[in-house]
Amino acid sequence: MTARAEILRRVRAAVGDERAAEAALAPADGAATRAYLRSHADAEVTELFAERVADYRAVVSRVAAAEVPAAIAAAAAALGLAVVVVAPGFPPAWLPGSGGVTWRADDPPLSVEDLDRCDAALTTAALGIAVTGTIVLDASAGQGRRALTLVPDAHLCVVRADQIEPDVPDALGRLDPSRPLTFISGPSATSDIELERVEGVHGPRTLHVIIAEGAAG
C-alpha cells in the first residue's frame, strides 16, 4: 500500500464511525461559529493605519498624492540612499528626479548579488490593514517579485489611502491566493533573546511607508 493510501485509510479508520453516525455535516461557517466581528477599527482607518504602522517603529509619512515624489526624495535623502531598485510597473509620475539617487529598474531581473548592492527597494502595495498596521504585497505591477523587497536593507512603500482595509477579514477577502503574498508589519524583528524585541534581522531593517491621500484608485 502506498503511504498516501495508508494515511488516508488510517484517517478514515480514526473518524469513520462517528462520521457515519452524523446525519449531515455541520458546516463550520454556521452563524454560531462565525460570531466574531468583521472589523475592530474604532477610528478613521487612515489615521489608525498610520498609528499602528508607526507602533512597529516603521517610519510613516502622510502626503497628498501630488507630493509623493517629494516624500520619496526626502526619505531617500534621510536614509542616505545611493542606489534604489524600483519595482516594474511603479507609477512613473511618482518617481522623483535623480537628486543624487540612482533609480535602477528590475528589468531584466537583477541577480541576487545586484539586489544585495541596492540600498533600498521602492514599491507600491496591494493593500494596507489598519488595525494590524500591515502592508500586503502580491507581486503585481508596482510591487516587484518577492526578492526585490527582501534583499535590500530598506523598503520604501507607497500605499494609497483608498487601499487601506479596516481589518484582517476584509483584507483577506480582497486578496488573490493564487499570487505570492507577503504580509509586512514593520521592519524585521526578533524576540529570541530573553523575549526582548530587537528590530532588524534578516529582512529590511528600515521600513518607510508613504500614505498617498486623495490619489485616484
Partner: protein
C-alpha cells in the same frame, strides 16, 4: 485496526519528568531566565488580546474550524494535494519520520547540494531531520536566531516559539564568539551581549548562506485545501529568505495543519500573533501557492506527515490536541513549565500542550509521566487560542495510564488506593486508622506540618508538606456534642 504511533517525538534516554524536573529545579540560572522571559510575554499577550472585544468568539470559531478539518481530514488532504499539484507543486506522503527523512534526503541529493537552509520548524525537530541529513553528508543550517543558538550550542530546544529561552544574553554572546567561526563567518570581534548586537552577528553569519543556498526546508503554519496555499508566519525575515531565494523549496507539514478554506485564515491570523509573540501582527507572513514563474523557487515539494497524528485522531477526547497552532501561550502561563523548563519534558513538544501531545503521538506507555506533569490549574485552557481543553485531555490520559498499569503489577499508588478503599469501607477500621494517624502525626510534626513521612510515605513528602492530622476526628467530636445538640 491499530494505528502505529510516531517516532522521534521524544529524546531517547531522557529521564522521566519527575526526575528531570528535580534536576532542572536545582538550576537557579535557568529558573531566573524562564521567570523573566515568561513574565514579559504574558503581559504582552494580555495587552493585545484585551484589544479584541470578540476574543472569545474568535477562539470559538477557531475551534470549530479545526474540528471540521479533523472530522473530514481525508477529504481536505486529497483536496490540498489536488490544489498544490494544479499550481505546479509536488506532493509527497510520509507515514512516519524515517519515510519523511528519506523523501527529503532524496530531494536534496537530486538537487545536487550538500547544504540546506532551514526555517524554524517543529515538525523537522520531531522527525530529527538534521541528524538524518547529516548521516547522508548534508548540512542543515538553522536560520531562525533561537534555533541557531540551539544548533551552535549542540543543545535542545526548550520552548516552541523561543527554543533558546533557557539561555540568557551573556551565554549567547559566549556561544557566538566561540562557535560561529566553526560553521562560516565568525562573530564580529569584541561582540557585546546587547541583543541588537547579537542579532546583527546572526545576520552577518547567515547572509551568504541565504544568497547562495540551493535548497531550503520549511515547515508550515497552515495549508489551505481549497486553494493549495501554504502559509509561514515569522518575524526575522529568515523565513522569507528561505522560501524565496533558493531554487528548490521543500515544505513538510503534519497532516493536521490543513484548513478547509482561504477565508479561515481571517480567524487564525488574528489569534496566532497575539497569542504567540503578543503582537497585533508578526512582522512577516508569507503565502504561496505552488510555483510562480519568475518569482521564487521553481521547484516546490510539499511533504504530508502522519507520524502518530492518525493515532491521536482516533481518540475522540484526545484528538483536540491536534488543533494546536504552536503559539506557545500555554507554556508561558504554566506554573510547572515556568519552574521546570522545557527540557524536563524530554520531548520536542514541551509544556502543557506537550504533556497532551507527546503521549498521544508516541503512545502513553512511552511517556507515562507527562500527563501528570501538571497541577490541572487550567491556565493553559484559558490561554489557548483554539480552546484545547488541556486539563480534560490530561485527566483522560491519566486514566489511560492508570488503566494500563492496572493490568500490570500494581505500583505504590495503586496499593495505597486499594488500602484506602478497604479502610473507608469499614467504620471500625477507619476509627482505628484515624486514631493512629492522630497520635503518629503529633510525633512527626514540626510547627504544624509534617515535612517527612517515614518508610514508604517518603515519596509523598518528597515534594510537599503534610498538615498534621487533628488530635480529635470529626466523628469523635460528633459522638460527644453533635448528637446531644441534634437531640434537643
Amino acid at each position: 485496526m491499530s494505528i502505529p504511533p510516531g517516532e522521534g517525538v521524544v529524546w531517547l534516554g531522557s529521564p522521566p519528568f519527575p526526575q528531570a524536573a528535580r534536576q532542572a529545579l536545582g538550576n537557579s540560572q535557568l529558573r531566573a531566565n524562564l521567570r523573566q522571559a515568561t513574565a514579559t510575554i504574558r503581559d504582552k499577550r494580555l495587552r493585545v488580546t484585551a484589544e479584541l472585544s470578540d476574543w472569545e468568539e474568535l477562539r470559538t470559531a477557531a475551534a470549530a474550524i479545526k474540528d471540521q478539518a479533523a472530522a473530514h481530514l481525508d477529504r481536505y488532504l486529497v483536496q490540498l494535494e489536488e490544489s498544490v499539484t494544479r499550481a505546479g507543486g509536488v506532493v509527497h506522503w510520509a507515514r512516519d519520520a524515517s519515510e519523511a527523512n528519506a523523501i527529503i534526503g532524496d530531494l536534496v541529493e537530486a538537487a545536487g547540494v550538500r547544504e540546506v537552509v532551514k526555517v524554524k520548524s517543529m515538525v523537522t525537530q520531531e522527525i530529527g531531520l538534521n541528524a538524518a541529513l547529516a548521516a547522508r553528508g548534508i548540512d542543515a543550517v538553522e536560520t531562525d536566531l533561537a534555533e541557531l543558538i540551539v544548533q551552535l550550542g549542540d543543545d535542545r530546544p526548550s520552548h516552541i516559539l523561543v527554543p533558546a529561552i533557557h539561555r540568557n544574553r551573556d551565554e549567547i554572546r559566549d556561544l557566538f564568539a566561540a562557535k560561529m567561526s566553526l560553521h562560516g563567518r565568525p562573530a564580529p570581534a569584541g561582540l557585546s551581549s546587547d541583543p541588537a548586537a547579537l542579532a546583527e552577528a546572526a545576520r552577518l553569519h547567515l547572509r551568504d548562506k541565504f544568497l547562495t543556498a540551493g535548497v531550503a526546508v520549511s515547515g508550515a503554519n497552515f495549508a489551505i485545501a481549497d486553494t493549495g496555499t501554504v502559509v509561514v508566519v515569522e518575524s526575522e525575515g529568515n523565513g522569507r529568505m528561505c522560501i524565496t531565494l533558493p531554487p528548490t523549496l521543500i515544505t513538510i507539514m503534519g497532516i493536521e495543519k490543513v484548513l478547509p478554506s482561504f477565508a479561515d485564515l481571517e480567524v487564525f491570523l488574528q489569534l496566532l500573533p497575539r497569542s504567540s509573540t503578543g503582537e497585533r501582527m508578526n512582522p512577516y507572513t508569507s503565502m504561496w501557492t505552488g510555483v510562480t514563474p519568475g518569482d521564487g523557487p521553481q521547484d516546490f515539494h510539499l511533504v504530508l506527515l502522519d507520524n502518530g497524528r492518525t493515532a491521536t485522531l482516533a481518540d475522540p477526547v484526545g484528538r483536540q490536541a491536534l488543533a494546536c497552532i504552536r503559539c506557545s501561550a500555554c507554556l508561558n502561563v504554566c506554573p510547572v513549565y515556568e519552574r521546570a523548563g522545557g527540557h524536563a519534558y524530554g520531548s520536542v513538544y514541551p509544556g502543557p500542550i506537550g504533556a497532551v501531545l507527546t503521549p498521544q503521538l508516541i503512545g502513553v506507555e512511552h511517556a507515562a509521566t507527562l500527563p501528570f506533569a501538571s497541577t490541572l490549574c487550567g491556565a493553559c485552557y484559558d490561554a489557548c487560542p483554539v480552546k484545547i481543553n488541556i486539563p480534560e485531555v490530561l485527566t483522560h490520559l491519566r486514566a489511560r495510564v492508570v488503566e494500563r498499569e492496572r493490568r500490570a503489577i500494581p505500583g505504590p499508588e495503586a496499593q495505597v488506593m486499594a488500602a484506602a478503599a478497604m479502610v473507608f469501607s469499614s467504620a471500625r477500621l477507619l476509627r482505628a486508622v484515624q486514631w493512629l494517624a492522630g497520635r503518629g502525626g503529633r510525633l512527626l510534626a514540626r510547627r504544624g506540618v509534617i515535612r517527612r513521612l517515614p518508610l514508604a510515605g517518603r515519596g509523598w513528602t518528597g515534594g510537599r508538606d503534610l498538615p498534621v492530622p487533628p488530635s480529635r476526628t470529626f466523628r469523635a467530636w460528633w459522638r460527644r456534642y453533635g448528637q446531644r445538640e441534634g437531640g434537643q
